[in-house]
Protein backbone atom coordinates (compact mmCIF):
# COMPACT_ATOMS: atom_id res chain seq x y z
CA UNK A 1 0.00 0.00 0.00
CA UNK A 2 2.94 2.32 0.63
CA UNK A 3 4.50 1.52 -2.72
CA UNK A 4 3.76 5.06 -3.89
CA UNK A 5 2.31 7.36 -1.26
CA UNK A 6 0.94 10.77 -2.23
CA UNK A 7 0.22 13.76 -0.02
CA UNK A 8 -2.45 16.41 -0.29
CA UNK A 9 -2.61 18.79 2.61
CA UNK A 10 -2.10 22.14 4.24
CA UNK A 11 0.51 23.85 6.41
CA UNK A 12 0.59 20.86 8.78
CA UNK A 13 1.59 18.53 5.98
CA UNK A 14 4.01 21.02 4.41
CA UNK A 15 5.77 21.63 7.73
CA UNK A 16 4.95 25.30 8.33
CA UNK A 17 6.73 26.23 11.53
CA UNK A 18 6.34 29.62 13.25
CA UNK A 19 6.35 31.29 10.61
CA UNK A 20 8.24 29.62 7.76
CA UNK A 21 8.46 26.63 5.45
CA UNK A 22 12.04 25.46 4.90
CA UNK A 23 13.68 22.13 4.13
CA UNK A 24 14.35 21.33 7.78
CA UNK A 25 10.72 21.83 8.75
CA UNK A 26 9.42 20.07 5.62
CA UNK A 27 11.52 17.05 6.56
CA UNK A 28 9.93 16.76 9.99
CA UNK A 29 6.31 17.21 8.82
CA UNK A 30 3.94 14.40 9.85
CA UNK A 31 3.32 12.73 6.45
CA UNK A 32 7.05 12.59 5.74
CA UNK A 33 7.63 10.87 9.09
CA UNK A 34 4.79 8.38 8.60
CA UNK A 35 6.02 7.47 5.14
CA UNK A 36 9.59 6.97 6.40
CA UNK A 37 8.34 4.70 9.17
CA UNK A 38 6.50 2.71 6.49
CA UNK A 39 9.83 2.33 4.63
CA UNK A 40 8.71 4.42 1.73
CA UNK A 41 9.32 7.99 0.59
CA UNK A 42 7.75 11.09 -0.89
CA UNK A 43 9.34 13.91 -2.88
CA UNK A 44 8.55 17.58 -2.48
CA UNK A 45 9.80 20.90 -3.77
CA UNK A 46 12.11 22.10 -1.03
CA UNK A 47 11.63 25.67 0.14
CA UNK A 48 13.83 28.22 1.86
CA UNK A 49 11.04 30.53 2.99
CA UNK A 50 8.87 32.53 3.07
CA UNK A 51 8.51 34.07 5.75
CA UNK A 52 10.96 33.91 8.72
CA UNK A 53 11.87 31.29 11.29
CA UNK A 54 10.88 33.13 14.47
CA UNK A 55 12.81 30.71 16.66
CA UNK A 56 16.04 31.47 14.79
CA UNK A 57 15.35 35.21 14.72
CA UNK A 58 14.52 35.50 18.41
CA UNK A 59 17.49 33.34 19.43
CA UNK A 60 19.73 35.67 17.44
CA UNK A 61 20.62 32.93 14.94
CA UNK A 62 19.25 34.72 11.87
CA UNK A 63 20.68 38.10 10.95
CA UNK A 64 20.02 40.76 8.32
CA UNK A 65 20.80 38.64 5.26
CA UNK A 66 19.16 35.52 6.65
CA UNK A 67 15.92 37.44 7.34
CA UNK A 68 16.00 39.12 3.93
CA UNK A 69 16.59 35.83 2.15
CA UNK A 70 13.84 33.99 3.99
CA UNK A 71 11.30 36.82 3.48
CA UNK A 72 11.83 36.51 -0.28
CA UNK A 73 11.84 32.71 -0.18
CA UNK A 74 12.78 30.36 -2.96
CA UNK A 75 13.38 26.75 -3.84
CA UNK A 76 16.30 24.72 -2.57
CA UNK A 77 15.47 21.72 -4.74
CA UNK A 78 12.65 21.10 -7.20
CA UNK A 79 10.87 18.22 -8.91
CA UNK A 80 8.74 18.25 -12.05
CA UNK A 81 5.92 16.43 -10.29
CA UNK A 82 6.20 16.16 -6.50
CA UNK A 83 4.43 13.30 -4.76
CA UNK A 84 3.94 15.44 -1.65
CA UNK A 85 1.82 18.41 -2.71
CA UNK A 86 0.73 19.74 0.69
CA UNK A 87 0.72 23.55 0.74
CA UNK A 88 0.49 26.07 3.55
CA UNK A 89 -2.88 27.81 3.69
CA UNK A 90 -4.56 25.17 1.49
CA UNK A 91 -8.01 23.68 2.04
CA UNK A 92 -10.31 21.46 -0.01
CA UNK A 93 -11.20 24.43 -2.25
CA UNK A 94 -7.66 25.48 -3.10
CA UNK A 95 -6.62 21.83 -3.53
CA UNK A 96 -9.04 21.80 -6.47
CA UNK A 97 -8.49 25.29 -7.80
CA UNK A 98 -5.03 26.67 -7.04
CA UNK A 99 -1.98 25.59 -8.99
CA UNK A 100 1.56 26.88 -8.75
CA UNK A 101 0.79 29.23 -11.62
CA UNK A 102 -2.85 30.27 -11.21
CA UNK A 103 -4.72 31.24 -8.09
CA UNK A 104 -7.90 29.79 -9.60
CA UNK A 105 -7.56 27.53 -12.61
CA UNK A 106 -11.33 27.72 -13.19
CA UNK A 107 -11.47 31.52 -13.26
CA UNK A 108 -12.27 33.14 -16.58
CA UNK A 109 -12.63 36.63 -17.95
CA UNK A 110 -14.31 38.12 -21.02
CA UNK A 111 -12.06 39.56 -23.69
CA UNK A 112 -12.71 40.95 -27.15
CA UNK A 113 -11.57 38.73 -29.96
CA UNK A 114 -11.18 40.54 -33.30
CA UNK A 115 -11.88 38.53 -36.41
CA UNK A 116 -13.05 38.67 -40.02
CA UNK A 117 -16.74 37.83 -40.03
CA UNK A 118 -16.63 37.74 -43.80
CA UNK A 119 -14.42 39.28 -46.46
CA UNK A 120 -15.71 42.80 -45.87
CA UNK A 121 -16.44 42.85 -42.10
CA UNK A 122 -13.69 43.10 -39.51
CA UNK A 123 -15.37 42.95 -36.11
CA UNK A 124 -15.11 41.47 -32.64
CA UNK A 125 -16.90 39.01 -30.41
CA UNK A 126 -16.64 38.50 -26.64
CA UNK A 127 -14.97 35.26 -25.62
CA UNK A 128 -14.29 33.77 -22.23
CA UNK A 129 -10.61 33.03 -21.56
CA UNK A 130 -8.77 31.72 -18.49
CA UNK A 131 -8.02 34.41 -15.93
CA UNK A 132 -4.76 33.31 -14.40
CA UNK A 133 -3.77 35.40 -11.38
CA UNK A 134 -0.49 34.61 -9.66
CA UNK A 135 -1.03 32.53 -6.49
CA UNK A 136 0.70 33.05 -3.14
CA UNK A 137 4.35 32.06 -2.80
CA UNK A 138 3.65 28.78 -1.03
CA UNK A 139 1.73 27.58 -4.07
CA UNK A 140 4.22 29.11 -6.53
CA UNK A 141 7.23 27.46 -4.91
CA UNK A 142 5.54 24.32 -3.63
CA UNK A 143 3.64 23.26 -6.75
CA UNK A 144 5.49 25.15 -9.50
CA UNK A 145 4.27 23.85 -12.90
CA UNK A 146 2.81 20.57 -11.66
CA UNK A 147 -0.85 21.67 -11.44
CA UNK A 148 -3.22 21.79 -8.48
CA UNK A 149 -2.88 19.38 -5.56
CA UNK A 150 -5.74 17.34 -6.99
CA UNK A 151 -4.26 17.28 -10.49
CA UNK A 152 -0.92 16.16 -9.05
CA UNK A 153 -2.56 13.20 -7.31
CA UNK A 154 -4.32 12.29 -10.57
CA UNK A 155 -0.97 12.46 -12.37
CA UNK A 156 1.15 10.50 -9.93
CA UNK A 157 -1.54 7.87 -9.24
CA UNK A 158 -0.61 7.11 -5.65
CA UNK A 159 -1.23 3.80 -3.92
CA UNK A 160 -1.96 5.57 -0.62
CA UNK A 161 -3.00 9.16 0.02
CA UNK A 162 -2.88 11.62 2.90
CA UNK A 163 -5.84 13.93 2.36
CA UNK A 164 -6.34 16.01 5.51
CA UNK A 165 -7.40 19.45 4.31
CA UNK A 166 -10.16 20.36 6.75
CA UNK A 167 -8.20 22.60 9.13
CA UNK A 168 -8.23 25.80 7.11
CA UNK A 169 -12.00 25.71 6.74
CA UNK A 170 -12.14 26.54 10.47
CA UNK A 171 -8.75 27.91 11.65
CA UNK A 172 -9.47 31.38 10.23
CA UNK A 173 -12.05 31.92 12.99
CA UNK A 174 -9.31 31.80 15.63
CA UNK A 175 -6.92 34.04 13.69
CA UNK A 176 -9.60 36.62 12.79
CA UNK A 177 -11.55 36.28 16.07
CA UNK A 178 -14.58 36.23 13.81
CA UNK A 179 -17.01 33.77 12.23
CA UNK A 180 -17.07 35.54 8.86
CA UNK A 181 -14.91 33.00 7.06
CA UNK A 182 -17.08 29.96 7.86
CA UNK A 183 -18.62 28.60 4.69
CA UNK A 184 -20.42 25.30 5.09
CA UNK A 185 -21.68 24.88 1.48
CA UNK A 186 -18.19 25.46 0.09
CA UNK A 187 -16.64 23.00 2.55
CA UNK A 188 -19.20 20.28 1.76
CA UNK A 189 -19.04 20.81 -2.00
CA UNK A 190 -15.24 20.81 -2.30
CA UNK A 191 -14.64 18.01 0.23
CA UNK A 192 -17.09 15.87 -1.75
CA UNK A 193 -15.34 16.61 -5.01
CA UNK A 194 -11.87 15.84 -3.64
CA UNK A 195 -12.99 12.49 -2.22
CA UNK A 196 -14.88 11.60 -5.38
CA UNK A 197 -11.91 12.36 -7.61
CA UNK A 198 -9.57 10.45 -5.30
CA UNK A 199 -11.90 7.44 -5.47
CA UNK A 200 -11.56 7.48 -9.26
CA UNK A 201 -7.78 6.97 -9.09
CA UNK A 202 -7.58 3.27 -9.87
CA UNK A 203 -4.21 2.70 -8.21
CA UNK A 204 -5.40 3.98 -4.83
CA UNK A 205 -5.55 1.24 -2.19
CA UNK A 206 -6.13 3.39 0.86
CA UNK A 207 -5.66 6.70 2.57
CA UNK A 208 -5.94 8.66 5.75
CA UNK A 209 -7.71 11.79 6.86
CA UNK A 210 -8.04 13.30 10.31
CA UNK A 211 -10.59 15.38 12.12
CA UNK A 212 -9.97 19.06 12.83
CA UNK A 213 -8.80 19.81 16.36
CA UNK A 214 -10.73 22.36 18.37
CA UNK A 215 -9.24 25.55 16.95
CA UNK A 216 -10.47 27.58 19.90
CA UNK A 217 -8.10 25.61 22.13
CA UNK A 218 -4.85 26.39 20.31
CA UNK A 219 -2.03 28.34 21.94
CA UNK A 220 -2.76 31.37 19.74
CA UNK A 221 -5.84 32.09 21.87
CA UNK A 222 -6.01 32.58 25.61
CA UNK A 223 -8.88 33.22 28.00
CA UNK A 224 -9.75 36.82 28.84
CA UNK A 225 -12.22 38.16 31.36
CA UNK A 226 -13.37 41.74 30.98
CA UNK A 227 -12.65 43.66 34.23
CA UNK A 228 -16.12 45.19 33.96
CA UNK A 229 -17.71 41.79 33.46
CA UNK A 230 -19.14 42.51 29.99
CA UNK A 231 -19.91 39.17 28.33
CA UNK A 232 -19.15 40.31 24.76
CA UNK A 233 -15.74 41.66 25.84
CA UNK A 234 -14.82 38.36 27.53
CA UNK A 235 -13.84 35.07 25.98
CA UNK A 236 -10.76 34.15 23.95
CA UNK A 237 -8.29 36.78 22.80
CA UNK A 238 -5.10 36.47 20.71
CA UNK A 239 -2.06 35.87 22.96
CA UNK A 240 -0.38 39.15 22.00
CA UNK A 241 -3.18 41.42 23.19
CA UNK A 242 -2.86 42.84 26.68
CA UNK A 243 -6.46 44.02 26.85
CA UNK A 244 -9.71 44.11 24.90
CA UNK A 245 -11.27 47.41 23.86
CA UNK A 246 -13.75 46.15 21.32
CA UNK A 247 -15.97 43.03 21.19
CA UNK A 248 -14.41 42.22 17.78
CA UNK A 249 -11.12 41.54 19.54
CA UNK A 250 -12.40 38.40 21.28
CA UNK A 251 -14.33 35.28 20.51
CA UNK A 252 -17.09 35.43 23.10
CA UNK A 253 -18.85 32.37 24.54
CA UNK A 254 -21.56 32.53 21.92
CA UNK A 255 -19.04 32.65 19.06
CA UNK A 256 -17.00 29.81 20.56
CA UNK A 257 -20.21 27.77 20.67
CA UNK A 258 -20.92 28.51 17.01
CA UNK A 259 -17.39 27.51 16.02
CA UNK A 260 -17.81 24.26 17.94
CA UNK A 261 -21.06 23.57 16.08
CA UNK A 262 -19.34 24.20 12.75
CA UNK A 263 -16.48 21.97 13.85
CA UNK A 264 -18.93 19.20 14.75
CA UNK A 265 -20.41 19.42 11.26
CA UNK A 266 -16.93 19.35 9.66
CA UNK A 267 -15.71 16.45 11.78
CA UNK A 268 -18.87 14.38 11.32
CA UNK A 269 -18.49 14.86 7.60
CA UNK A 270 -14.82 13.78 7.81
CA UNK A 271 -15.74 10.69 9.87
CA UNK A 272 -18.51 9.77 7.43
CA UNK A 273 -16.31 10.18 4.38
CA UNK A 274 -13.49 8.15 5.94
CA UNK A 275 -15.94 5.30 6.50
CA UNK A 276 -17.55 5.64 3.06
CA UNK A 277 -14.23 5.65 1.18
CA UNK A 278 -12.53 3.06 3.39
CA UNK A 279 -9.89 5.51 4.60
CA UNK A 280 -8.17 5.34 7.96
CA UNK A 281 -9.25 8.08 10.33
CA UNK A 282 -7.20 9.70 13.06
CA UNK A 283 -9.43 11.54 15.49
CA UNK A 284 -7.20 14.56 15.99
CA UNK A 285 -10.03 16.42 17.69
CA UNK A 286 -10.20 13.78 20.43
CA UNK A 287 -6.42 13.45 20.69
CA UNK A 288 -5.92 17.21 20.97
CA UNK A 289 -8.67 17.50 23.60
CA UNK A 290 -6.90 14.79 25.59
CA UNK A 291 -3.55 16.59 25.33
CA UNK A 292 -5.19 19.84 26.34
CA UNK A 293 -6.76 18.13 29.35
CA UNK A 294 -4.06 15.71 30.48
CA UNK A 295 -0.88 16.53 28.58
CA UNK A 296 1.17 14.07 26.55
CA UNK A 297 3.62 11.98 28.59
CA UNK A 298 7.27 12.26 27.51
CA UNK A 299 9.36 9.50 28.98
CA UNK A 300 12.89 8.30 28.34
CA UNK A 301 13.47 4.53 28.25
CA UNK A 302 14.92 4.69 31.79
CA UNK A 303 11.81 6.45 33.09
CA UNK A 304 13.22 10.00 33.18
CA UNK A 305 10.69 12.63 32.14
CA UNK A 306 10.74 16.40 31.53
CA UNK A 307 7.01 16.40 32.37
CA UNK A 308 3.95 16.07 30.18
CA UNK A 309 3.77 18.16 27.02
CA UNK A 310 0.91 20.63 26.75
CA UNK A 311 -0.97 22.42 23.98
CA UNK A 312 1.40 25.37 24.22
CA UNK A 313 4.74 26.45 22.82
CA UNK A 314 7.45 25.17 25.14
CA UNK A 315 8.33 27.25 28.16
CA UNK A 316 10.79 26.74 30.97
CA UNK A 317 10.09 23.27 32.39
CA UNK A 318 6.83 23.18 30.46
CA UNK A 319 7.26 21.08 27.31
CA UNK A 320 4.89 21.81 24.46
CA UNK A 321 3.74 20.71 21.03
CA UNK A 322 3.48 24.11 19.36
CA UNK A 323 5.87 26.35 17.50
CA UNK A 324 6.14 30.07 18.17
CA UNK A 325 3.07 30.98 16.12
CA UNK A 326 0.81 29.23 18.62
CA UNK A 327 -0.89 27.40 15.74
CA UNK A 328 1.51 24.88 14.19
CA UNK A 329 3.39 21.96 15.78
CA UNK A 330 7.11 21.84 16.43
CA UNK A 331 9.38 18.87 15.64
CA UNK A 332 8.07 17.00 18.67
CA UNK A 333 4.44 17.92 17.87
CA UNK A 334 4.78 16.49 14.37
CA UNK A 335 6.14 13.21 15.77
CA UNK A 336 3.10 12.99 18.07
CA UNK A 337 0.71 13.65 15.17
CA UNK A 338 2.57 11.14 12.97
CA UNK A 339 2.25 8.47 15.67
CA UNK A 340 -1.48 9.02 15.94
CA UNK A 341 -1.75 8.58 12.18
CA UNK A 342 0.41 5.45 12.27
CA UNK A 343 -1.87 3.98 14.96
CA UNK A 344 -4.94 4.73 12.82
CA UNK A 345 -3.33 3.24 9.69
CA UNK A 346 -2.18 0.13 11.57
CA UNK A 347 -5.63 -0.39 13.00
CA UNK A 348 -7.50 0.17 9.75
CA UNK A 349 -5.27 -1.83 7.41
CA UNK A 350 -3.79 -4.28 9.95
CA UNK A 351 -0.26 -3.04 9.38
CA UNK A 352 2.56 -2.95 11.83
CA UNK A 353 4.26 0.35 11.03
CA UNK A 354 6.54 1.15 13.98
CA UNK A 355 5.85 4.23 16.07
CA UNK A 356 8.34 7.09 16.26
CA UNK A 357 10.26 7.46 19.51
CA UNK A 358 8.49 10.54 20.92
CA UNK A 359 11.13 11.00 23.58
CA UNK A 360 13.78 11.25 20.85
CA UNK A 361 11.60 13.80 19.01
CA UNK A 362 11.40 15.87 22.19
CA UNK A 363 15.12 15.40 22.91
CA UNK A 364 16.08 16.74 19.47
CA UNK A 365 13.49 19.53 19.42
CA UNK A 366 15.47 22.75 19.75
CA UNK A 367 12.48 24.78 20.90
CA UNK A 368 11.60 22.32 23.66
CA UNK A 369 15.21 22.01 24.75
CA UNK A 370 15.86 25.72 24.61
CA UNK A 371 12.48 27.50 24.87
CA UNK A 372 11.72 31.07 23.87
CA UNK A 373 9.30 33.03 26.00
CA UNK A 374 7.52 34.75 23.14
CA UNK A 375 5.70 37.20 25.36
CA UNK A 376 9.03 38.78 26.24
CA UNK A 377 9.49 39.65 22.57
CA UNK A 378 6.18 41.33 21.75
CA UNK A 379 7.89 44.70 21.32
CA UNK A 380 10.04 43.29 18.52
CA UNK A 381 8.48 44.68 15.35
CA UNK A 382 8.97 41.45 13.47
CA UNK A 383 6.32 39.82 15.68
CA UNK A 384 3.62 42.16 14.36
CA UNK A 385 4.57 41.36 10.81
CA UNK A 386 4.69 37.63 11.56
CA UNK A 387 1.16 37.84 12.98
CA UNK A 388 -0.02 39.83 9.97
CA UNK A 389 1.51 37.19 7.74
CA UNK A 390 -0.27 34.42 9.65
CA UNK A 391 -3.63 36.20 9.59
CA UNK A 392 -3.47 36.69 5.84
CA UNK A 393 -2.13 33.26 4.86
CA UNK A 394 -4.83 31.33 6.72
CA UNK A 395 -7.92 33.16 5.47
Amino acid sequence: MFRKPGVMGDSLSQGFYGVIVEKKTQDWAYPVLVVKQANSSVIYNELKGPYVNLEDVLKGNCGVFCIASSIIGGNQKTYDVPTHAGITGANFTSALKTSGECEDITATKWVKEWYWKNWYTYTYRWVQVPDCQKPDKFHQLGLRKAGTQMQIMEKIKPSFVFAALGQNHVLCTALHTSLDCLDEPRFRRDFNEVMLRLSRIDTLKGGIIFTVPNVTAIAYLEPYRDPQGRANYSGLKPFYRTSVSNPNQVLDANEVQQIKQFLTMVNNEIRNKAAAYNFALADAELIFDDIRENGRPIRAPNGWSPGNAGANWPLLNKPGLFSLDGVHPNRYGHAVLANELIKAINQKYRFNIPLIDEYAAWYYDSLNRNPVDLKRFLTENIIGQAISWLINVFT
Binding site: V64, A68, P371, T379
Partner: protein
Protein backbone atom coordinates in the same frame (compact mmCIF):
# COMPACT_ATOMS: atom_id res chain seq x y z
CA UNK B 1 57.68 -29.59 4.88
CA UNK B 2 56.43 -27.84 1.78
CA UNK B 3 52.93 -29.01 2.54
CA UNK B 4 53.18 -27.72 6.11
CA UNK B 5 54.44 -24.34 4.83
CA UNK B 6 51.66 -24.15 2.32
CA UNK B 7 49.11 -25.04 5.02
CA UNK B 8 50.45 -22.27 7.33
CA UNK B 9 50.44 -19.75 4.50
CA UNK B 10 46.89 -20.68 3.46
CA UNK B 11 45.72 -20.51 7.11
CA UNK B 12 47.38 -17.14 7.54
CA UNK B 13 45.77 -15.92 4.33
CA UNK B 14 42.33 -17.13 5.48
CA UNK B 15 42.74 -15.46 8.89
CA UNK B 16 43.80 -12.16 7.26
CA UNK B 17 40.95 -12.35 4.74
CA UNK B 18 38.35 -13.07 7.47
CA UNK B 19 39.75 -10.28 9.63
CA UNK B 20 39.57 -7.89 6.69
CA UNK B 21 35.97 -8.85 5.89
CA UNK B 22 35.03 -8.54 9.57
CA UNK B 23 36.72 -5.15 9.69
CA UNK B 24 34.78 -3.96 6.64
CA UNK B 25 31.51 -5.20 8.10
CA UNK B 26 32.02 -3.83 11.58
CA UNK B 27 34.18 -0.79 10.93
CA UNK B 28 33.26 1.75 13.59
CA UNK B 29 34.05 4.85 11.53
CA UNK B 30 30.51 5.73 10.40
CA UNK B 31 28.96 5.19 13.80
CA UNK B 32 31.56 7.31 15.57
CA UNK B 33 31.00 10.22 13.20
CA UNK B 34 27.29 9.87 13.58
CA UNK B 35 27.48 9.88 17.36
CA UNK B 36 29.63 12.98 17.33
CA UNK B 37 27.25 14.72 14.98
CA UNK B 38 24.33 13.69 17.08
CA UNK B 39 25.68 15.78 19.92
CA UNK B 40 26.51 18.82 17.86
CA UNK B 41 23.21 20.73 17.79
CA UNK B 42 23.03 21.08 21.54
CA UNK B 43 26.67 21.85 22.09
CA UNK B 44 26.16 24.73 19.71
CA UNK B 45 23.10 26.14 21.44
CA UNK B 46 24.66 25.81 24.89
CA UNK B 47 21.28 24.84 26.32
CA UNK B 48 21.28 24.55 30.06
CA UNK B 49 17.88 23.00 30.60
CA UNK B 50 17.26 19.32 31.27
CA UNK B 51 20.95 18.60 31.79
CA UNK B 52 20.04 15.20 33.21
CA UNK B 53 17.99 14.20 30.14
CA UNK B 54 19.32 10.81 28.98
CA UNK B 55 20.13 10.22 25.32
CA UNK B 56 17.36 8.42 23.44
CA UNK B 57 17.79 4.74 22.68
CA UNK B 58 17.77 5.37 18.98
CA UNK B 59 20.45 4.41 16.53
CA UNK B 60 22.02 7.58 15.06
CA UNK B 61 21.23 6.35 11.56
CA UNK B 62 17.59 6.11 12.55
CA UNK B 63 17.74 9.63 14.02
CA UNK B 64 19.23 11.08 10.83
CA UNK B 65 16.76 9.18 8.68
CA UNK B 66 13.88 10.79 10.55
CA UNK B 67 15.43 14.24 10.98
CA UNK B 68 18.16 14.80 8.36
CA UNK B 69 18.86 18.35 9.59
CA UNK B 70 20.47 16.93 12.74
CA UNK B 71 23.24 15.43 10.64
CA UNK B 72 24.48 18.78 9.38
CA UNK B 73 23.35 21.31 11.93
CA UNK B 74 23.21 24.91 10.79
CA UNK B 75 26.40 26.73 11.74
CA UNK B 76 25.63 30.05 13.35
CA UNK B 77 28.16 32.82 13.75
CA UNK B 78 26.56 35.09 16.33
CA UNK B 79 29.38 37.62 16.16
CA UNK B 80 28.91 37.95 12.41
CA UNK B 81 25.15 38.38 12.90
CA UNK B 82 25.73 41.12 15.48
CA UNK B 83 28.11 42.84 13.09
CA UNK B 84 25.52 42.65 10.31
CA UNK B 85 22.87 44.34 12.48
CA UNK B 86 25.21 47.06 13.69
CA UNK B 87 26.26 47.92 10.14
CA UNK B 88 22.68 47.80 8.91
CA UNK B 89 21.47 49.99 11.78
CA UNK B 90 24.17 52.52 10.98
CA UNK B 91 22.80 52.87 7.45
CA UNK B 92 19.08 52.60 8.33
CA UNK B 93 18.77 53.65 11.98
CA UNK B 94 14.96 53.76 11.87
CA UNK B 95 14.44 50.42 10.17
CA UNK B 96 11.50 48.49 11.58
CA UNK B 97 13.33 45.15 11.56
CA UNK B 98 16.28 46.09 13.81
CA UNK B 99 16.00 44.02 17.00
CA UNK B 100 15.38 46.07 20.16
CA UNK B 101 18.70 44.95 21.66
CA UNK B 102 20.47 47.23 19.16
CA UNK B 103 18.25 50.20 20.02
CA UNK B 104 18.10 52.25 23.18
CA UNK B 105 14.36 52.28 23.64
CA UNK B 106 12.73 53.86 26.69
CA UNK B 107 9.95 52.11 28.61
CA UNK B 108 7.54 54.59 27.04
CA UNK B 109 8.71 53.70 23.52
CA UNK B 110 8.33 50.01 24.27
CA UNK B 111 4.79 50.57 25.52
CA UNK B 112 4.04 52.56 22.38
CA UNK B 113 5.25 49.61 20.29
CA UNK B 114 2.93 47.24 22.15
CA UNK B 115 0.02 49.64 21.59
CA UNK B 116 0.78 49.92 17.88
CA UNK B 117 1.05 46.14 17.59
CA UNK B 118 -2.40 45.72 19.14
CA UNK B 119 -4.07 48.36 16.96
CA UNK B 120 -2.39 47.11 13.80
CA UNK B 121 -3.09 43.40 14.34
CA UNK B 122 -6.68 44.10 15.36
CA UNK B 123 -7.42 46.02 12.16
CA UNK B 124 -5.40 43.57 10.07
CA UNK B 125 -7.49 40.66 11.34
CA UNK B 126 -10.72 42.61 10.79
CA UNK B 127 -9.82 43.43 7.19
CA UNK B 128 -8.90 39.78 6.59
CA UNK B 129 -12.22 38.75 8.09
CA UNK B 130 -14.16 41.23 5.94
CA UNK B 131 -12.30 39.98 2.87
CA UNK B 132 -13.44 36.40 3.67
CA UNK B 133 -17.02 37.56 4.09
CA UNK B 134 -17.06 39.60 0.89
CA UNK B 135 -15.42 36.78 -1.04
CA UNK B 136 -18.16 34.47 0.17
CA UNK B 137 -20.91 36.86 -0.97
CA UNK B 138 -19.24 38.06 -4.18
CA UNK B 139 -21.15 37.85 -7.45
CA UNK B 140 -19.46 38.24 -10.82
CA UNK B 141 -20.01 41.68 -12.29
CA UNK B 142 -21.21 43.19 -9.00
CA UNK B 143 -18.81 45.52 -7.19
CA UNK B 144 -18.19 45.26 -3.46
CA UNK B 145 -20.04 47.60 -1.06
CA UNK B 146 -19.19 51.32 -0.97
CA UNK B 147 -18.89 51.25 2.82
CA UNK B 148 -18.36 48.42 5.29
CA UNK B 149 -20.60 48.79 8.30
CA UNK B 150 -18.90 46.04 10.32
CA UNK B 151 -15.66 47.96 10.54
CA UNK B 152 -15.67 51.64 11.14
CA UNK B 153 -12.35 52.74 12.61
CA UNK B 154 -11.63 56.16 14.06
CA UNK B 155 -9.22 58.28 11.96
CA UNK B 156 -6.54 57.96 14.63
CA UNK B 157 -6.78 54.16 14.62
CA UNK B 158 -6.68 54.01 10.86
CA UNK B 159 -3.70 56.38 10.82
CA UNK B 160 -1.82 54.08 13.21
CA UNK B 161 -2.70 51.16 10.92
CA UNK B 162 -1.42 52.78 7.74
CA UNK B 163 1.62 54.28 9.46
CA UNK B 164 2.53 50.80 10.68
CA UNK B 165 2.09 49.42 7.17
CA UNK B 166 4.16 52.23 5.65
CA UNK B 167 6.94 51.85 8.20
CA UNK B 168 7.04 48.09 7.76
CA UNK B 169 6.92 48.16 3.97
CA UNK B 170 9.53 50.90 3.73
CA UNK B 171 11.79 48.90 6.07
CA UNK B 172 11.20 45.66 4.19
CA UNK B 173 12.21 47.40 0.96
CA UNK B 174 15.36 48.77 2.64
CA UNK B 175 16.20 45.34 4.02
CA UNK B 176 15.85 43.58 0.68
CA UNK B 177 17.71 46.29 -1.25
CA UNK B 178 20.53 46.20 1.30
CA UNK B 179 20.70 42.42 0.96
CA UNK B 180 20.79 42.64 -2.85
CA UNK B 181 23.53 45.28 -2.65
CA UNK B 182 25.68 43.16 -0.36
CA UNK B 183 24.85 39.60 -1.32
CA UNK B 184 23.36 40.02 -4.78
CA UNK B 185 26.37 38.50 -6.52
CA UNK B 186 25.96 35.25 -4.56
CA UNK B 187 22.21 34.83 -5.10
CA UNK B 188 20.66 32.41 -7.54
CA UNK B 189 18.54 33.73 -10.40
CA UNK B 190 15.26 32.59 -8.81
CA UNK B 191 15.80 34.59 -5.63
CA UNK B 192 16.96 37.64 -7.56
CA UNK B 193 13.91 37.50 -9.80
CA UNK B 194 11.53 37.01 -6.87
CA UNK B 195 13.16 39.88 -4.99
CA UNK B 196 12.84 42.21 -7.97
CA UNK B 197 9.18 41.30 -8.49
CA UNK B 198 8.45 41.76 -4.79
CA UNK B 199 10.21 45.11 -4.62
CA UNK B 200 8.21 46.38 -7.58
CA UNK B 201 4.95 45.25 -5.99
CA UNK B 202 5.83 46.61 -2.53
CA UNK B 203 6.78 50.01 -3.89
CA UNK B 204 3.36 50.24 -5.55
CA UNK B 205 1.69 49.29 -2.27
CA UNK B 206 3.80 51.80 -0.38
CA UNK B 207 2.68 54.62 -2.69
CA UNK B 208 -0.92 53.62 -2.23
CA UNK B 209 -0.66 53.61 1.59
CA UNK B 210 1.09 56.96 1.58
CA UNK B 211 -1.72 58.44 -0.53
CA UNK B 212 -4.37 56.93 1.78
CA UNK B 213 -2.59 58.31 4.83
CA UNK B 214 -2.96 61.80 3.44
CA UNK B 215 -6.71 61.29 3.02
CA UNK B 216 -7.32 60.54 6.69
CA UNK B 217 -8.95 63.53 8.40
CA UNK B 218 -7.23 65.01 11.43
CA UNK B 219 -10.33 65.19 13.60
CA UNK B 220 -12.49 62.50 15.10
CA UNK B 221 -15.49 61.39 13.04
Amino acid sequence: MNNKKTMILVSLFIIIAISFILYLLLKPEKKEIAQNEQETPYKQEKQELYLDAPKPNLDPEEVFKLWPDLQNPQKVNKEEIEKQWIEFARKYPNNFYIPTKYLNLTEEQLQQRQKELETFTYLESKYASIKSKLNKEAQPGVNGPEAIKEINPEPEEQRTYFQYKVKELQSRIELIEYWLENEGANLNSQQKELAEQDLQQWKKELNEYNKLLKEIPLNKK
